[in-house]
């Protein structure tokens, strides 16, 4: 039973890897950015656990900014992905422009809240 699950797991991982390798490069770049943002957030949380949560607003702004930019990058990826039928008829610059605008607002808020 355990052997079949471990072999299942290996097959699963292999098939995941092959399926993911098939995604186009621009999507992979966005994915790398998302992973980077999440890792930064995790590092900040660990740092907060070590050092203490004062000042709380700076911690909140840092973590929420990383999460926020990751979420926005995921939204960008959804809109840029050619397999998504819903966003076929968008002009190609539109998702990037929206992404930049949303990030601008996020930066403004963060810089105000950072303290």
């Amino acid at each position: 039973m355990a052997k079949s699950t471990s072999s299942d797991a290996q097959m699963l991982i292999r098939s995941l890897r092959t399926a993911y390798a098939a995604t186009p490069t621009n999507l992979k770049i966005i994915d790398v950015y998302v992973v980077y943002a999440i890792v930064t957030a995790v590092i900040q949380v660990v740092y907060m656990g070590v050092v203490g949560s004062f000042p709380f607003n700076s911690f909140l702004s840092g973590v929420l900014f990383c999460v926020g930019t990751a979420v926005l990058a995921v939204c960008l990826r959804i809109q840029v992905n050619k397999e998504n039928k819903e966003f076929k008829d968008l002009p190609p610059e539109r998702p990037y422009a929206d992404f930049v605008l949303c990030n601008l607002v996020l930066h403004l808020v963060i810089m105000n809240f950072l303290g």
Partner: protein, 788 residues
């Protein structure tokens, strides 16, 4: 080709005409919403109403005079003496900043409007904006016709009028606009999937957080809707784009507002949004994996993930529940708890229970406040289900939750009003759609050959064939049809006739859906009845606005046999205070009048309507319920110079302090156990006549209200309680009367300074012994007076 070019010309002209007509109708709706709220300005004067708006007005005055940095850091030492109040951190700044910026803009354009004028007219302007926002929201749900109907219904609905008349300068005036606009942007993002609208949605949510404490309704309703969509299988990437950026940006923006601060991440009101945030990420990830894996491998992945994930999530949830359960209110604030559990406030927080607008509404108040909409709403719910889309499921959810909350607190009928208008607008628009379609399809048959009673079946069958032909046109031309429907003029009939002549063009015969077509006379009568229904609604709304909701409550009027009597006693009393006392004198009164006293009389008060400190209010309540000497001690320890009571016995004004006395006893007794409510009750009732208890007849409130009352008519008949009072002839030993207004409605007393020499038994000259001997005189098991 020529035929299509022909149809294109008139159809674009019709489109253009419909668009212009729509804009014109929207302008008229704005003017209607503005002008129906002006009754109080016409009947009385351009004055700020009620109690809370006076505080907002004072804050706006400070903002316009001192600028935004001083406003942000303002510590007010003229209320809650000696505690003070941090205004910058405890006020929702949206309303004052909006009015302040409007004033600044107008003054920079050299239009010299005073701050008071801008404050008085802020609410009507923003109600026009709210009507336009309702149009946009309903247009996203169902189309332009429903949008226009919903907008005109919201412009007039009495429940919204009651909180946004000219002069009612309160948070809800801008908050309802922000609420509807935020919902509109959310639905727009959901329908289009564009990040641009998601950003705008977050910014509009920020404006809502700035404006009103009811923003928690939005941040709980939207996650509920997202969860509903996921559970009914309507997950799409647009849902993710609509929700996930809103949560992150929205939480950050909410933390920026000082009132909310870290509550945005630490109180239970926001936890629903975080939970659904996690859930939507899990669901999105699942969909993504399903997309890139083959079905067999996906099944393997699911079994693996489910076993591991279940264990991990159980552990996380257990930790979370332990954290939340450790706080006594499970992380919720008092006001939110009283919404979820309607009996909570009356058991634990008597101050929340005592506010009249926090009581549950009665059945008649539904028909008073939303009138005809009350029975159009169920029809609207049904219309939303055919067909069901994300947007229409959101509106249904909004309506259901707001109906529940309006049943808990009468003040929240206001949140129900936009939902009811949207639903009724949809219902009315769909009804008009069916009826006018029936008339339109059957009219040419009536015009070509004279009507035959037995021929109705063939007419209806021909009509149905026509219906299937027309339907393909209708799907493309639904915009134009719906735009022209709400004109409700005879022009509509002629336009439909010329449309039929054009639409005899061969159709595409795509979707041959059978549309509902009713008999001709029935539809004509039904349209007439719907218009009559609308007429009843309009008449009721105008009556409610003019008679019921336009009272400024700072000025009272009554119609006696010899004409109109105006009672301007409140302003008379505040003006007396302003001109005849020192700037630093402290005035004590019940908390209802605190805001008005600081704004109009410009004197420091002990407690005001903010009611943030229950013990301080209980102190004042205890003082009002105690005998003269003990009350003098309490007030003297608070540096009070003047005491203000409101008395309605001479003129029959029912909201005076004697009627509010039971709350003073209850709140005071809640903190200081030596005030016992049964001491004041005779047979379970508060009485002030000869049957009243001695404690009641000796308490400060009785004495200050009825001092010298017998001089008015010789019998001391109290018109509100409808009896003669118990103790008629008495003197005041520790207070002296300094002012009573014209109709005896406001009475101001001054604390007498302590005597220099004490006659009678030799007492030690220290003031502490004086109070300890006075304590000895009281009953045995009393608490020591905490101020000595």
């Amino acid at each position: 080709m020529a035929a299509t070019a022909e149809t294109k010309g008139p159809s674009t002209l019709r489109n253009a005409f419909g668009g212009v007509l729509g804009v014109f109708i929207l302008l008229l709706i704005g003017v209607l919403a503005f002008s129906i709220r002006l009754f109080s300005v016409i009947k009385y004067e351009s004055v700020i109403h009620e109690f809370d708006p006076y505080f907002n007005y004072r804050v706006t005055q400070y903002l316009t005079k001192n600028g935004i940095y001083d406003f942000w850091n303002w510590f007010d030492d003229r209320t809650w003496y000696p505690l003070g109040r941090v205004i910058g951190g405890t006020v929702y700044p949206g309303l004052t900043l909006t009015a302040g910026s409007m004033w600044w803009l107008l003054n920079s354009l050299n239009i010299p409007l005073s701050v008071e004028t801008v404050c008085v007219f802020t609410a009507p302007i923003f109600s026009a904006n709210a009507a336009w926002a309702t149009f946009l929201l309903t247009k996203e749900v169902k189309g332009t016709g429903a949008g226009l109907t919903a907008a005109v219904l919201l412009a007039m609905v009495p429940s919204y009028i009651s909180r946004s008349v000219a002069g009612s300068y309160d948070n809800e005036a801008v908050a309802i606009f922000a609420l509807v606009f935020t919902f509109y942007l959310y639905i727009k993002t959901l329908n289009t999937g564009s990040l641009f609208y998601a950003t705008l949605n977050a910014l509009s949510y920020f404006y809502m957080v700035c404006s009103w404490g009811g923003y928690t309704f939005i941040i709980n309703l939207i996650p509920m809707h997202v969860l509903l969509c996921i559970l009914t299988g309507r997950y799409s990437s647009r849902l993710y784009i609509a929700y996930a950026p809103l949560v992150v940006l929205g939480t950050l923006l909410a933390s920026l507002v000082p009132v909310v601060g870290f509550n945005a991440v630490m109180t239970s009101e926001h936890f629903a949004s975080f939970l659904v945030f996690i859930i939507i990420h899990v669901v999105a990830f699942i969909y993504y994996i399903k997309g890139i894996l083959s079905p067999k491998m996906f099944k393997v992945a699911m079994t693996l993930v489910v076993t591991i994930g279940l264990a991990v999530s159980c552990a996380v949830i257990a930790i979370f529940i332990a954290l939340v359960a450790s706080s006594p209110t499970k992380g919720w604030s008092g006001r939110s708890l009283s919404l979820l559990d309607p009996t909570y406030a009356s058991k634990y927080i008597p101050i929340i229970a005592s506010v009249s607008e926090h009581q549950p509404p009665t059945w008649p108040s539904y028909f008073m406040d939303i009138n005809v909409l009350a029975f159009l709403v169920p029809a609207g719910i049904i219309a939303c289900f055919l067909p069901l889309s994300d947007a229409s499921s959101f509106v249904v959810l909004y309506l259901v939750t707001s109906v529940y909350f309006s049943g808990v607190m009468v003040r929240l009928m206001l949140v129900l009003a936009p939902a009811a208008c949207i639903m009724s607008g949809i219902a009315l628009s769909e009804a008009f759609d069916v009826f006018t379609r029936s008339i339109k399809l059957q009219l040419p048959n009536i015009l070509d050959n004279p009507p035959d009673a037995g021929d109705m079946n063939s007419v209806s069958s021909i009509a149905q064939n026509d219906a299937s032909k027309i339907d393909s046109h209708a799907t493309t031309k639904s915009e134009t049809v719906s735009k022209e429907r709400p004109s409700r003029k005879n022009r509509k009939k002629e336009k439909e006739k010329e449309k039929e002549n054009v639409e005899k063009v061969p159709s595409h015969s795509e979707n041959k859906k059978r549309l509902l077509v009713l008999p001709l006379e029935a539809s004509a009568v039904a349209i007439l009845l719907l218009i009559v229904l609308g007429g009843f609604y309009v008449v009721h709304c105008v009556w409610a606005a003019a008679e019921a909701y336009s009272a400024p409550s700072i000025v009272l009027t009554s119609y006696a046999h010899d004409g109109l009597h105006v009672f301007d006693d409140f302003r008379e009393a505040y003006a007396w205070l302003r001109h005849n006392t020192d700037v630093d004198d402290k005035v004590a009164s019940w908390w209802d009048y605190g805001y008005q006293t600081t704004a109009m009389a410009n004197r420091t008060v002990i407690v005001d309507n903010n009611t943030w400190n229950n013990t301080h209010i209980a102190t004042v309540g205890t003082a009002m319920s105690s005998p003269e000497k003990a009350a003098w001690e309490i007030f003297n320890s608070l540096d009070v110079k003047y005491v203000l009571v409101v008395f309605g016995g001479l003129v029959g004004y029912p909201s005076d302090d004697i009627n509010k006395f039971l709350w003073m006893v209850r709140i005071g007794g809640g903190v200081f156990p030596h005030i016992r409510e049964p001491d004041y009750l005779r047979d379970g009732q508060y009485r002030i006549d000869a049957q009243a208890t001695p404690t009641m007849l000796n308490c400060l409130m009785y004495k200050l209200s009825y001092y010298r009352f017998v001089e008015t008519d010789g019998k001391a008949f109290d018109r509100v309680r409808r009896t003669e009072i118990g103790k008629k002839y008495f003197k005041l030993t520790h207070f002296e009367e300094v002012f009573t207004t014209h109709h005896w409605m406001v009475r101001i007393y001054k604390l007498k300074p302590p005597k220099n020499r004490i006659r009678g038994k030799l007492k030690k000259p220290k003031s502490s012994s004086k109070s300890s001997s006075s304590n000895h005189k009281r009953a045995g098991n009393t608490q020591k007076n905490p101020w000595q």
